[in-house]
Amino acid sequence: MMTVPAFFFYLFSAIAVASAFMVIAGRNPVHSVLWLILTFVNAAGLFLLVGAEFLAMILVVVYVGAVAVLFLFVVMMLDVDFAELREGFLQYLPIGALVGFVFLVELVLVVGTWVVGPGIASAIKAPIPNAAQVTNTEAIGRVLYTTYVHYFQIAGLVLLVAMIGAIVLTLHHRVNVKRQSISSQNARTRDTAIEVVKVKTGEGI
């Protein structure tokens, strides 16, 4: 008899793997992005199962809400012919496979010598604060704005630079652009807005 968490684990992971496969197998890039969103949502479900509800929510909010939507925008706005891009793709296969193989060997070497740090085992046994009493969202909140406030502020500065950069590099001040002027719209009266024209019969304006 399968327990409920085990059932959901297999459900989420099966759908996640299947939809991840569809992301790279799909021919239409828009479909790929939609499959990607399904993968994210299922990965969020897996996070929920292990009790990391904060990560689950962040995954949905940031990756589905922002990143995937950004992908969709780019895919739909840029008229990229993906079929053409894929042409000649297979000619890179030998070198790609070689690089992948080397990387795999290296990873095996690393994992083979995996050592857990001496302090880690006891640290996991006694998480601070106690996981039974505090949700992990609250636990992160407790340190994010106290112990790690400087990281938070520096990350904010990084975002500020990104914003300034995007504006500096892309905003063009064009002349002769017709912009909405709310004050002049509100100041309109019947006299300034309506003009009475005497039209001669049969001639038009």
């Binding site: 010598t113 857990v116 740090g117 302090g119 112990t147 990281y151 520096i154 990350a155 950069g165």
Partner: protein, 474 residues
């Protein structure tokens, strides 16, 4: 945490808050405010420098030890502020001449300076990464700031893509180092890493690869010539000065404080990239016709020489790196002052052979440039000789004989292309005159010339400061 406990990071706070105030001022006043914002940025940098000089000499730890304000950090912060201020001063006439009125430039430079100050104070992997990103993101923006110019845009894009790749490698290395030691703080990593495990060495390799990219050491130097050539000249001057100094500082601090017990594991990496950088910097610069490209290869070579001092992992070596970076900063800023001054009615000139006969058309400029080039080549009694002397001495004391010998040979090869420019200036038939040098640029050139030529008279204070700064790491 009380406000009083934030006093050690007051210089950083001044830079950051100053940048935001100037940004608001610029946004509300529009493009006309550029000269005021530029002057304001210089004032902010000066205030920060004064505050750093006034700080007590005892090291201060903040935020649970993730930021440390010690003599090492203060030394490099002063260098960074000098480099940024000089680049800003030289950029002002350049933007006027090119009708580029962007007040954001000064603001972004200030924010990148804030990132560099975090970098040199960082004592854990997270602060390290955030500092690097804050600096790099600002640098990508200013590389492309001349957005109507295809070369500038290309430089920005190239720098961004390759920089993102290097950040990925750095993060991968950082995560491995964290995974195998269980902590992000350098002191904790040093305590946990008593013997090299394969995974940790893997992490060090990736971490150093990311850092080597930021200092543009071979084999991660490919972006440097293109970015230096494409970016507007004052931006290139800034790139060659402050960020390079900050990245070297970070490199030294990570190597010395995070991995002191497994020096053998990283020394071979440092020796390799140092030799490769010196040799490539010497040989690849020979065929260059564009002076900014030449300076790019020259800076790659100089990073190699500076890393010679890091290889032994001793206090003498680190002190040599500090002296090297100070002198390198002065020489580079002076040389770029001349590059910015290479203007005719047709615009900016970047070809080296256009310097022909400068000794007859503009003798003072030619003399100072010649002195700077002799110094870059490492010819006594100029400052550049002492820079090389201290790092090679440390290498020999640390029994890195091959490294020192290859370094001396590479600097002999490097001397060829520096002296070729001197030959062009003094022997070849004069080309057309350049426009007179703008005052701010002339001031930077004069200061760096005086420092380079007269360093041997009174090297004591710099050497003492470098020794004290190096001691604070051990």
């Amino acid at each position: 945490m009380t406000l009083n406990s934030l006093m050690p990071v007051l210089p950083e706070l001044v830079v950051v808050v100053g940048a935001m105030l100037l940004l608001m001022f610029g946004v509300f006043r529009g493009e006309d405010s550029t000269p005021i914002v530029e002057a304001g940025a210089l004032v902010v940098l000066a205030i920060a420098a004064v505050l750093i000089l006034m700080q007590p000499s005892a090291p201060a730890e903040l935020f649970g030890g993730s930021i440390v304000i010690d003599a090492f950090a203060r030394f490099f912060k002063i260098l960074i502020l000098i480099g940024a201020a000089a680049a800003l001063v030289m950029s002002m006439p350049f933007w006027r001449n090119h009708k580029l009125n962007r007040f954001e430039f000064s603001v972004v430079v200030l924010l990148s300076v804030a990132g560099m100050m975090v970098m040199v104070s960082a004592r854990d992997l997270i602060a390290l990464y955030l500092g690097i990103e804050l600096m790099s993101l600002a640098l990508y923006v200013i590389a492309a700031i001349d957005r109507e110019n295809v070369r500038s845009t290309e430089a920005g894009l190239k720098y961004f893509v390759l920089g993102a790749l290097s950040s990925g490698m750095l993060l991968y290395g950082a995560s491995l180092a964290y995974g195998f030691t269980g902590t992000v703080s350098f002191a904790g990593i040093a305590a946990a890493a008593k013997s090299p495990s394969t995974g940790l060495v893997f992490g060090i390799v990736f971490l150093f690869a990311g850092l080597a990219f930021k200092v543009s050491a071979v084999p991660f130097h490919m972006w440097t010539p293109d970015v230096y050539e494409g970016a507007p000249t004052p931006v290139t001057a800034f790139f060659a000065a402050a960020p390079k100094v900050a990245a070297i500082a970070l490199f030294v601090r990570v190597a010395i404080t995070a991995f002191p017990n497994i020096t053998l594991s990283w020394q071979q990496i440092i020796v390799f990239i140092s030799i490769a950088s010196m040799v490539l910097g010497a040989f690849a610069a020979i065929g260059q016709k564009n002076i900014k490209r030449l300076m790019a290869y020259s800076s790659i070579g100089h990073v190699g020489y500076a890393l010679v001092g890091l290889a032994p992992g001793t206090a003498e070596g680190v002190s040599g790196v500090l002296i090297y970076m100070t002198i390198y900063l002065a020489m580079t800023l002076g040389t770029f002052a001349v590059v910015i001054a290479m203007r005719r009615d047709g615009g900016q000139i970047e070809e080296i052979d256009q310097l022909a006969g400068l000794s007859r058309t503009q003798p003072v400029m030619a003399f100072v440039l010649a002195a700077l080039l002799f110094s870059l080549a490492g010819i006594p009694p100029l400052a550049g000789f002492f820079a090389k002397f201290y790092v090679f001495l440390a290498a020999i004391q640390g029994k890195f004989y091959a490294l020192a010998v290859i370094g001396v040979l590479a600097s002999v090869v490097g001397a060829y292309y520096y002296l070729r420019i001197v030959k062009i200036m003094y022997i070849d038939e004069p080309a057309q005159r350049f426009l007179p040098m703008p005052k701010p640029v002339a001031i930077v050139l004069a200061l760096s010339g005086i420092f380079t030529i007269l360093f041997f008279v009174y090297p004591g204070p710099l050497v003492a400061a470098a020794n004290a700064a190096a001691k604070s790491l051990f």
